[in-house]
């Protein structure tokens, strides 16, 4: 089926408004055709991936050349995913001059399109919260899930190029999670295990995603879900199972209005299932050389909690402790004494990047402890890297001393 386009959209597609807009429209329309979309719909905002030079490589510059032929700008507020380095402290991260030069060029190009260089996977933590029912084109998989699940906004799991195309045109194709009927759950999960910390939420998400790839879950018997817990669950579901939307009984905005009639299966998540995930990511035989926290990016509360858990303890010799966050959150913790407090104990806080998209982590460390299953999943893909998954208070006990 070929979708209906307005006269204005036809003109954009035909090249009358320039090659960059035509290419962007072609991308959105063809993807829409494949998924049987009947029309294009306007989006409220966009979140664009494809920033770290580690992942996009040289190819991105050729695409930028094509886009710069017309002086094209984004049509809606647009935020940028993390880069491959802290834009200020990259030398301290042992990033090469060559990598840094290319990374700076990439971010500068996106800025030239009118994109806000937030360089975070969690724009919702720094004030960019989506509205209920709003149509979006977001691409970072954990943020996609938070927008859909926690805020009740509507976005498919966009690719790096399609989110950029939507930002440029202000449009996306109406299919998938933009349509109400496609947002109903398929699997009912009775959460019998206790969720006592962020890692437990992360373990639940990872376990479910591995078992039911792509199916929307409806979780029952979860007692609380703040944004920091929600993002751990979201990131894990997306990393292991490409899940872009979840519901939690009484706690997520669509949990009362959705239709649970088409549920195909009901299962339990037990203490044993939870333990399986911790055992799966228990790979370090020697001592750890890095603790990496902030996947997704740490919020102000996350960092406060780390500081509180540490109390007066100091880092043990030979172990680094890195926290990843957005530059905006870093500015906030700099303003109160939180940053100084952490740095005085040897803990480093890096902005704009993370353990997954920066070459600095994989190249310099082999035995990494984290509290996030998503981080553990991607870091352990490198054959030389071993990871341990632990809750934050256990991590602090293991790597610090009085």
């Amino acid at each position: 089926m070929i979708m209906f386009l307005t006269k204005d959209q036809e003109e954009m597609l035909s090249g009358m408004k320039g090659e960059a807009i035509a290419k962007s429209m072609e991308l959105i329309v063809k993807i829409g055709d494949v998924y049987d979309a009947e029309q294009l719909i306007p989006i409220a905002n966009a979140q664009v991936a494809g920033v770290s030079y580690l992942t996009v490589g040289e190819s991105i510059f050729s695409y930028f050349e094509l886009l710069s032929k017309d002086a094209v700008k984004v049509k809606v507020p647009t935020w940028l995913n993390p880069a491959g380095m802290d834009m200020k402290k990259w030398r301290e991260m042992e990033i090469s001059e060559d990598f840094a030069e290319k990374q700076l060029r990439i971010v500068k190009f996106y800025e030239g399109l009118g994109i806000n260089p937030t360089l975070t996977c969690a724009p919702y933590l720094i004030g960019h919260t989506p509205s209920h029912g709003a149509h979006l084109a977001w691409s970072e998989s954990s943020a996609v899930s938070i927008a859909n699940s926690f805020y009740g906004a509507r976005t498919n799991r966009e690719g790096a190029p399609s989110s950029l195309a939507s930002a440029i045109t202000g449009l996306t194709a109406n299919y998938g999670l933009h349509i109400t009927e496609n947002r109903n759950p398929r699997i009912l999960v009775d959460v019998r295990a206790k969720l006592e910390n962020f890692s437990d939420y992360s373990a639940l998400g990872y376990w479910y995603g591995k078992k039911f790839h792509g199916s929307i879950p409806y979780f029952m018997n979860i007692q609380r879900l703040n944004i920091n817990e929600a993002k751990m669950l979201a990131a894990a579901l997306a990393a292991s199972g490409s899940v872009a939307l979840y519901h939690v009984k009484n706690l997520t905005p669509e949990s009362k209005s959705i239709d649970t009639e088409n549920v195909e299966e009901k299962i339990e998540f037990t203490e044993l299932n939870k333990k399986e995930i911790y055992n799966h990511f228990n790979q370090i035989s020697e001592g750890p050389d890095l603790v990496a926290i902030g996947c997704p990016h740490a919020s102000y509360e996350d960092i406060k909690l780390i500081s509180n858990t540490l109390q007066s303890r100091q880092m043990k010799e030979g172990i680094e402790f890195w926290i990843f966050t957005s530059s905006e959150t870093k500015t906030v913790i700099e303003a109160d004494s939180l940053l100084t407090n952490l740095e005085s104990r040897g803990i480093k806080v890096y902005a704009d990047t993370c353990m997954v998209v920066s070459p600095s982590v994989g190249e310099n460390f082999q035995n990494i402890i984290t509290n996030s299953t998503k981080a553990a999943h991607y870091l352990s893909k490198a054959k030389t890297t071993m990871v341990n998954l632990l809750p934050l208070n256990s991590i602090v006990k293991e790597v610090t001393e009085q």
Partner: protein, 136 residues
């Protein structure tokens, strides 16, 4: 032998098949500068995509993979066409950016009917894939 297909990016080309029985993550599995398969566990490890009809079940992995497909074109090592079991957004976006013909949903069991080295013609206006010559 004629097989029906769904055209996504148009074109008519004849070329030699390179078949991957496994899904492809362009980011990580393919080198955009040389066009070679760099996934050491792939049965076509080290083979180049350049000027082939690249047949694989589906794309997977990072969505940045679309830019890798575009990079193949820029570096003159791109395949003549992409034939997938079922297209998803990574491959669709990549093929559109690079302007490489893309078809999917073969109406017969293509993966057991062609092998690497066979000559095939894809014609999106006819919605067909024809097997011209079999590699001995």
């Amino acid at each position: 032998m004629k097989i029906g297909i769904r055209p996504i990016v148009e074109g008519k080309v004849t070329g030699s098949v390179l078949l991957s029985p496994h899904p492809i993550s362009f980011l990580g599995d393919v080198d955009s500068e040389t066009g070679k398969i760099i996934d050491s566990e792939s049965p076509i490890y080290g083979k180049s995509l350049k000027d082939t009809i690249f047949v694989f079940p589906r794309g997977q992995g990072s969505t940045v993979g679309s830019y890798i497909i575009f990079g193949l074109k820029v570096n003159n090592v791109s395949p003549l066409a992409l034939v997938v079991g079922e297209a998803e957004t990574i491959v669709i976006a990549g093929a559109i950016l690079a302007d490489i013909p893309l078809v999917d949903l073969p109406d017969k069991d293509l993966f057991n009917m062609v092998k690497t080295g066979d000559t095939v013609t894809i014609d999106t206006s006819e919605k067909t894939l024809k097997i011209q010559k079999r590699e001995k």
